[in-house]
């Protein structure tokens, strides 16, 4: 249970949040035309006759967009509807050449599903929580109006018209800005794992309509407002916080919350009325007569299922259960496609190099990948050349460390040189003297000398003062100028002290 509450004059208020996330489907071509979807092209250069709604033009569904929506549905464990249909949502606007958006109201392609947001004490999510997903439907994006090109006229860029979007509608299951933030991040992660959306919120590939209402805990849902087109996780959280407080103020001052559509103002962090319920469009939805129902056969569905990668939750569980990683490490490594990709490549290279099963080196590799290597890179700043950060070089360092040839500190030093110069790690260890001594003869000699010079402490140790073991280790390491293998030092000291 989220304990997020708005403290009002009349007591505590609970916030109820639902999100409609619009995710641009990764596809070279648009949903119903062959025009390109590449971001950033010159205005009106990626517009087919269909996108421009020329007379007599007809939409033909792009199979890849359907496939990506189905795969996304499968990734959130949703009901996949083998029969779905496209509807027209009718309204006039200059960025909508057809005068209607082809969408799916009555029979969406994906039904109910769910996703898990993980406990995050610091963020105010005390325990894991399942967020229900109502549906995913596929629809066309609209174009873009440009108001700054002419003193009295607006210009229209149709490049974006007809690009496929998935609208992913959550249930009103979230109760705090943190939960909503975690939901968007998790959804983004899943979309990126699946490859159905690049999740790039800055380019508008993902944006959210944020539905917020407030109520006294335990009471019925309040009237909600919908804030449109919010394009970052941070803004989503800001909208909720602002809206919830605004609504509480309204209600506590004896007013009522209007069911309305609002806009988020990034500069002020506030929302304002876009249109009220009275001005709401009547979209006159009806089945698009230009299109046949979408019917998915078993072969198509199995191909979609088989093409799904291991998903974040499953991967995290495997990292914990099979690789023996800590829950923290497992979560950090699986959050992003890039992170686990680098980790798994390095893990495989390291295990091969060392000749041990992945499970036995996983913790070492995880620590390296999550804290050691990023620390080195951070400390070097601009001096580090990312091109030198190959998995081969890193595996080589980790293998030397595993064999006891170098210490943790030496591993860092070697990696620094690698990042700056691209030199071979083993060669660096040899030529720069960055190797630790595992030669028992040298270490034994040093220990013998230390024990001889500290007879009193030896007696005290043998008399039961166990803490002195650390003193002997320290003295030995000091004598070896830090280059002795600590494991060897420990073992020899134990032997000699009996």
């Amino acid at each position: 249970m989220s304990n997020y509450r708005i403290q009002g004059a009349t007591g505590e208020w609970e916030v109820v949040i639902g999100l409609e996330v619009h995710a641009q489907v990764t596809s070279n071509a648009k949903l119903f035309s062959g025009a390109s979807t590449e971001f950033g092209a010159e205005p009106n250069t990626q517009v087919s006759l269909i996108d421009a709604a020329m007379p007599g033009m007809l939409p033909v569904p792009n199979r890849e967009c359907i496939r990506q929506a189905v795969r996304t549905g499968m990734a959130i464990e949703a009901q996949i509807n083998a029969w779905s249909r496209f509807d027209r949502k009718n309204y006039f606007y200059a960025d909508l050449p057809q005068g209607y958006q082809i969408s799916q109201l009555y029979h969406p392609i994906v039904g109910e599903g769910q996703l898990l947001i993980e406990a995050d004490e610091k963020a105010g999510i005390p325990e894991d929580k399942i967020i229900g997903i109502e549906r995913i439907h596929v629809e066309q994006d609209a174009g873009k109006l440009m108001h700054d090109q002419h003193p009295t006229m607006s210009y229209v860029d149709l490049n974006r018209v007809g690009i496929a979007l998935m609208e992913i509608v959550s249930k009103p299951d979230m109760r705090s800005p943190a939960e909503a933030g975690a939901y968007v991040r998790k959804l983004r992660s899943i979309l990126r794992y699946v490859g159905s959306c690049d999740g790039n919120m800055e380019e508008g590939s993902m944006r959210a309509d944020v539905n917020v209402s407030v109520r006294k805990p335990g009471e019925e849902f309040g009237t909600r407002t919908e804030t449109k087109n919010v394009n970052s996780v941070r803004f989503v959280m800001q909208v909720i916080e602002y809206e919830a407080n605004r609504q509480v103020d309204v209600l506590e001052n004896g007013g009522t919350v209007d069911q309305e559509t609002r806009l988020f103002d990034v500069a002020s962090g506030t929302t304002r009325t876009m249109r009220s319920k009275e001005d709401a469009h009547d979209y006159r939805y009806f089945p698009d007569p230009d299109l046949l129902p979408v019917e998915l056969d078993d072969a198509f569905l199995s191909e979609c299922r088989e093409s799904l990668p291991e998903l974040p939750d499953a991967k995290r569980a495997r990292y914990e259960n099979e690789l023996g990683l800590t829950p923290y490490n497992a979560r950090e490594l699986t959050a992003e496609v890039e992170t686990f990709g680098r980790f798994e490549t390095l893990l495989s290279a390291t295990a091969t190099r060392i000749g041990k099963p992945e499970k036995q080196v996983a913790t070492q590799v995880a620590n390296w990948a999550l804290s050691v290597a990023p620390g080195v890179i951070k400390s070097l700043g601009d001096e580090a050349d990312p091109a030198h950060a190959s998995s081969g070089a890193q595996a080589s360092i980790l293998a030397m460390q595993d064999k006891g040839e170098i210490s943790g500190g030496q591993a860092k030093e070697i990696y620094e040189i690698v990042l700056k110069t691209g030199r071979d790690p083993e060669e660096i260890a040899d030529t720069e003297g960055l190797k630790q001594v595992s030669d028992t003869g040298a270490i034994e000699a040093a220990i013998d000398e230390i024990l001889a010079n500290n007879q009193d402490k030896v007696e005290q140790y043998k008399g039961g003062k166990d803490k002195l073991f650390g003193f002997f280790v320290g003295q030995t390491m000091k004598a070896m100028q830090g280059k002795a293998n600590p494991a060897v030092v420990n073992q020899l000291l134990k032997d000699k002290l009996g």
Binding site: L49, A53, M54, G56, P59, P61, Y100, R284, F286
Partner: protein
């Protein structure tokens, strides 16, 4: 050379191939007739140079001994609903006046590929909405027919009224039409020509200005059944650019023509015997039965119980789709733009659409908008869709008892221009026999049967099972061979 214009598709094609005359001679003859028939107002744009260009290409091919195609050397009229590359396409509306597509509709492209040439773009009811050609922005098309002893102008039917007049008046041996709720069959019937609406999906809708997408279907209008078979074969075919296109091979309808109906059962739907139907229409129906029986068919009575609901359902579904399909004519990207001084976007929409659409188009947009509105959708659109299903089921059940259905095409002969002024609902009734087959997506054709007491042609309608254009054409041929219909209008224009 004027006798060449009495020839139909097959005669021209075969004559050109045999070298009896050149394609150029044919094109010139029809170009001359088109030029001389301005009074009929059948064409919005004449393209004599296109017709000649196509003809010369055919003559050149023939000189080289190449294949001339199934429509080689045949010049045709193109309904102005088909987008034609480089030639103005308006759907007979002001809102598209001056619009010149940079693309060619699939159906017209198929015809040019088969060797046909274009005489021009044919006038029609605006956006194919109408049964009399009185809704065209470019003026009424007049029928070449007159009542015996009367000089009153008659309607050529609609919406393919430019097509029917052009074929009936020998301005073209054949023309394309489109049929949403009778727009091929009704004008064919009232002008004494033949026209077939194939199964929904046979002809691609790509590049055809949309009226009601789930009903619109292109088809040929020509002087006889054989010519229709030839031309339909050229027009039809699967088109991946149209999601509702039938992915089936096109049968060889011309080769398959056979007027022997032995073993076929022809159903006579009792619900088509409606009050107010002309006696002459009922007489023609009786004769039709006799002709088909004579061709070997067995005549059986059948019932299509939901017939009376078909027309009201059609006038909900078609306007609903039209209200959405016509939203794209907004003045933003092409066609008419009316931008009053200081106007904003909404003002521009209102001004453009007020100036650009005719009354009938506006009426249907209003009806369609209304029936799709929140609160009315279920009462109108959903109910109409249910009726559509029931009408289709009526036919499905009927096919258990018969192979084809014979019915009148229209409840009356051609009416005078302005005859239904101020009474659009009475005008809508003209499609009462045509609409059920449209709702069910079935192939249906009209063939001339006889002249009524006023000397005006009446048509008979044959409706077939889905994909059975051949059966429909064969029954049409059987009627054609027995009716002896060879009347043509006296030239007065």
């Amino acid at each position: 050379m004027s006798d060449l214009t009495n020839l139909g598709v097959k005669a021209i094609r075969d004559g050109v191939a045999a070298g009896d005359f050149t394609a150029r001679e044919v094109a010139e003859a029809f170009n001359a007739n088109v030029a001389a028939a301005k009074d009929l107002n059948a064409f919005i744009v004449a393209t004599p140079e296109k017709a000649l260009e196509a003809a010369d290409a055919i003559d050149a091919k023939r000189a080289k001994g190449e294949d001339l195609g199934t429509m080689g050397g045949v010049p045709i009229g193109m309904k102005d609903l088909f987008c034609t590359d480089g030639v103005q396409t308006t759907a007979a509306s002001h809102i598209l006046e001056g619009f010149v597509p940079q693309y060619e509709s699939t159906v017209s492209a198929n015809l040019w590929k088969a060797g046909a040439g274009m005489l021009g773009k044919l006038n029609m009811d605006q956006f194919a909405m109408g049964s009399s050609n009185e809704t065209s922005y470019f003026g009424n098309v007049l029928s070449p027919w007159k009542k015996d002893g009367s000089n009153a102008a008659l309607i050529p039917g609609g919406s393919s009224g430019g097509s029917s007049t052009a074929v009936a008046a020998r301005l073209a041996p054949a023309a394309t039409g489109t049929d949403t709720g009778g727009s091929i069959r009704q004008p064919a019937a009232v002008t004494g020509i033949t026209g077939i609406k194939p199964t929904y999906g046979r002809c691609s809708r790509w590049g055809v200005v949309a009226f009601a997408s789930s009903l619109d279907q292109a088809g040929p209008m020509a002087r006889d059944v054989t010519d229709c078979a030839i031309m339909l074969e050229a027009m039809a075919g699967f088109d991946p650019k149209d999601s509702t296109s039938l992915d089936m091979p096109v049968p060889e309808w011309e080769k398959g023509l056979n007027a022997d109906l032995t073993g076929k059962k022809v159903g006579i739907p009792r619900e088509y015997r409606m009050e107010g139907t002309d006696q002459a229409i009922l007489d023609s129906w009786e004769r039709g039965k006799e002709w088909l029986r004579d061709a070997g068919a067995e005549i059986v009575d059948i019932s299509l119980p939901h017939t009376k609901y078909a027309l009201p359902a059609y006038y909900i579904i078609a306007p609903a789709e039209a209200s959405s399909n016509l939203a794209r004519y907004d003045g933003v990207r092409y066609g008419l733009r009316d931008l009053p001084e200081g106007a904003g976007l909404q003002d521009m929409y209102a001004a453009t659409r007020a100036a650009g659409f005719g009354d009938e188009v506006k009426r249907r947009i209003l009806i369609g908008t209304y029936v799709l509105s929140a609160g009315f959708y279920d009462a109108y659109y959903t109910q109409a869709q249910k009726i559509r299903t029931l009408v289709a089921q009526d036919f499905e059940k009927a096919w258990g008892e018969c192979d084809l259905i014979l019915a009148p095409t229209t409840p009356n002969a051609a009416f005078p221009l302005g005859g239904f002024d101020g009474d659009p609902l009475a005008m809508y009734l003209n499609d009462v026999f045509a609409v059920p087959a449209s709702l069910a997506g079935l192939p249906a054709m009209s063939v001339p049967a006889m002249l009524n007491g006023d000397g005006l042609p009446l048509g008979l309608q044959i409706i077939g099972k889905a994909f059975d254009e051949q059966g429909v054409l064969n029954a049409g041929l059987a009627i054609e061979q027995r009716s002896g219909f060879d009347a043509k209008p006296e030239r007065w224009w």
